[in-house]
Amino acid sequence: MGNKPKIAFYWCSSCGGCEESLVDMAEAIVELSTQIEIVLWPVAADFKKKDIEAMADGEIVATMLNGAIRTSEQEEMARLLRRKSQILIAYGSCAYTGGIPGLSNQFPREQLLKYVYHDAPSVVNPEGQDPQTEFHDAGRVATLPIFSEVVRSLDQVVDVDYYIPGCAPNPELVLDAIHALLSGNLPSKGTVLAPDIALCEHCPRLKTKPADIAIDEFKRPHQHLIDPNVCMLVQGFACLGPATRSGCGGACLKANMPCTGCFGPMSNVRDQGAKALCALASIVAGTTNEEIDSALDGIPDPVGTFYRYGLAKSMLRRKVNMEPTLSK
């Protein structure tokens, strides 16, 4: 067992979907387990932090870390795993670009805590307690990690070697990555392990998109019947396929939902949200302010539409009146 390559899986600020995607590899993971030694996988097995700390630096061949970095504990684990791993892979949208948790960068930390612990309709907190990082009771101290000012992608905290995009990544992509890893046949550092071309390239609906497309009304998917064969943009749904890396197999479109952009931008795009916004704004039909406003009424949440997965890693990154307390 000792000479099989050591692999670690870890999670930070995430929903658990990425863990599901590992399990989705089904029998392939059984086969894999004969070739690798899993040294850390908190969701599935009982490994301890001290086991990792006891390892030599670089002893782990590769770590796949999912989830964004929001707390001091997550940052600490990211740094530890970075040190112990030859290769660190940002796994899934949150680790890659901040993901859904990154949307909280629109609000200051204090506002978030106030809402969650006091103002949210479901909160019951009669004593008005706020979360503390330390709690003393009967001579013992319980601690909680520090909740930082902003959500960060993994590479905003530590050096990252590869990225597997997706919310969550699909098993085929993950298997390909692991096989590449085992065979040593790896691309250059920093590569996103998915095809470097937009989803439209493979979309069967593209042929229904006219050359002179002009959108006079954006529609929200839950309010309309969607034609399963026609380009989402032609139907007025804000599909991010043109601005999103492929590799997902068009899963959402197969389920008749527009692409929401989880695979992130192509390699030569610096800001996926800005690009998607530019592209869609360019094909709005109206010429007067009123016509344009009315078309855009169908996009009530532009940040949530164009930066759903990428706000933390984008040029916008966070609301500007905040100062991060944790430095990189």
Binding site: D196, I197, P242, K275, C278, S282
Partner: protein, 668 residues
Amino acid sequence: MDDKTIGNGSEEVRIGFFICHCGSNIAGTIDVEAVADYVRTLPNVVVSSDYKYTCSVAGQDMIVEDILKYKLNRVVVAACSPLLHEKTFRAATQRGGINPFFFHMVNIREHGSWVHQDRALATQKAMDMARGAIARVKFHKALEKRREPVRQSVLVVGGGIAGIHAALTMANAGKKVYLVEREPTIGGHMAMFDKTFPTLDCAACILTPKMSEVGSHPNIVLWSYSEVTEIKGYVGNYDVTVKRKPRYIKEDLCVGCLDCIDHCVFKTGNTDDEFNQNLSKRKPVYIPFAQAVPRLVAIDPAACTHLNGGKCEQSCATACDRQAIDFEQKETFEHIGVGAVIVATGFKPFDAHRKPLYGYGRFPDVYTALEVERLVCSSGPTGGDVVLKDGSKPKSVGIIHCVGSRDHQTNRWCSRVCCMYSLKLAHLLKEHTDAEIYNFYIDIRTPGKGYEEFYERLQEEGNHFIRGRVGDITDVPIIPEEEGRMIVRVEDSLAGFVRRIPVDMVVLATGLEPREDASEIRRRFNISCSSEGFFLERHPKLAPVSTTTDGVFLAGCCQGPKDIPDTVAQAGAAAAESLVLLDVGYVEMEPMTAFVTEKYCSGCKTCLPLCPFSAISRDEEKGVAVINPVLCKGCGTCVAACPSGAITQNLFEDRQIFAEIEELLVHA
């Protein structure tokens, strides 16, 4: 790439920075020495200096010498607008042996010294901008201008005096000219005039020889009764579609004997004669006027009985011994290629109905100036007799200036020609009728050669000049002398009281307006217009006949009101500019165009509808967008919109722009 050019992107970046005082234009507000000292400390900067006038020969030589002395491979100049001197400094860079696109310019004059007063802050801003440029220029690449051949032909749109003069000039220089005129004859408004000011030359006598020269010139293809419907392509290589409206005459057979007109079943005219300003009637088969060019009749489908499905013995057709009449004729389309285009589509006279208080259309003897031109003309509807609608001669005439000009209710601009043509008409009316002539004016504007002298002559001839904008024309008399006459009510601003002047005839000196379809024409030729709708020259002083579209030039009143001498001068200038383009024989295409990196293009079609120059098409086989670099103007619209980052624009690459922005904001 030229073998001698250095800078393949791999060698060490060595930047030379030069900051210009521009006399005191920049140095008066910005501490240029401090900026030079600061930039010298930046990475990759090998030399940094300031100079009084960097654009001077000595300043350029300094750049060339420093390139050689310090083995520079990048040059940044902080000076005025790139619009002014980018070319100058690119050329200097090239003389130093570097590809000219390794040069970058920072505008610290228009964006700096001219808009700031605080010396310290303006200096800081100049430093920031320079730092951005230094960061950006590292990422510049060697680029090459491409050359495209220029077709040796020109399209002239509009056959008034402007189009005629431009066409003849080009044709005499040996170029092939296509002259397209909407009406059945060339000649335009000038053909309708009787005399021209201030010399009182007979308009026809000076115009018609030029018209016949156009008609017979071997280098001119004249398409009258035709319109340009589409223009595509780019400077030097325009593809033009011309619609030839059916005139129901076989042009190659008609010799202009006019027998058909004599034999028309209508013995007298049955429809308004536009050429005579509807003051007379013409037949359905007609020639606009005796000296029309081409001398071809036309059949008016609106007035012809046969073409309206009525019963007609078609005597015109039988009268033609050459069988030239063809009632089955349909519109046809000609496709031509030209190197340059001269737009000379003229003007529209102000519609006098828009000033209802002056009674046009309400009182029979209120005329527009153009109507009076026809009345005083010996080939006009009355044979030159100036008579009122009841057949009598007027004993007094009022000429109202500035109708539809200098008027906030209608058009605010001065139409430039009305003062002088009003004086001319005053002289001609006096000559024809010996009536008392009253000129009602706001200011008399005579800024042309011999114009003021003509005004003096008119004053000596006993014409009355009353300064004041006319309030209205009324037919309600208050004293016996006013009975049965029109009364001009005007506040005489010199005398300081309101006058009532009874007259028999009123002439409205209507101003000049853009044509009704000017904005349509403007879009077709992709040129701009000013707020009033006249076509916009590229620069009012330095490029007065050019437009923002290369290879499209302006002549005559489509660009703004002007008299015949100015029109002819401008037409000559437009012809000269076109000749330069054609004679150089090629156009250099700026390399700051956009291109598609195929492997990144998903074929999502986002860019296809966006290009204002129709430069983007789709390669259906490969499923990718393709940009025609010749049509691309480098506007950047598709570059911004491309959601894949597959479209890049030379000199505006992401890494260049972001490097500049990041350095610019580093202290913000």
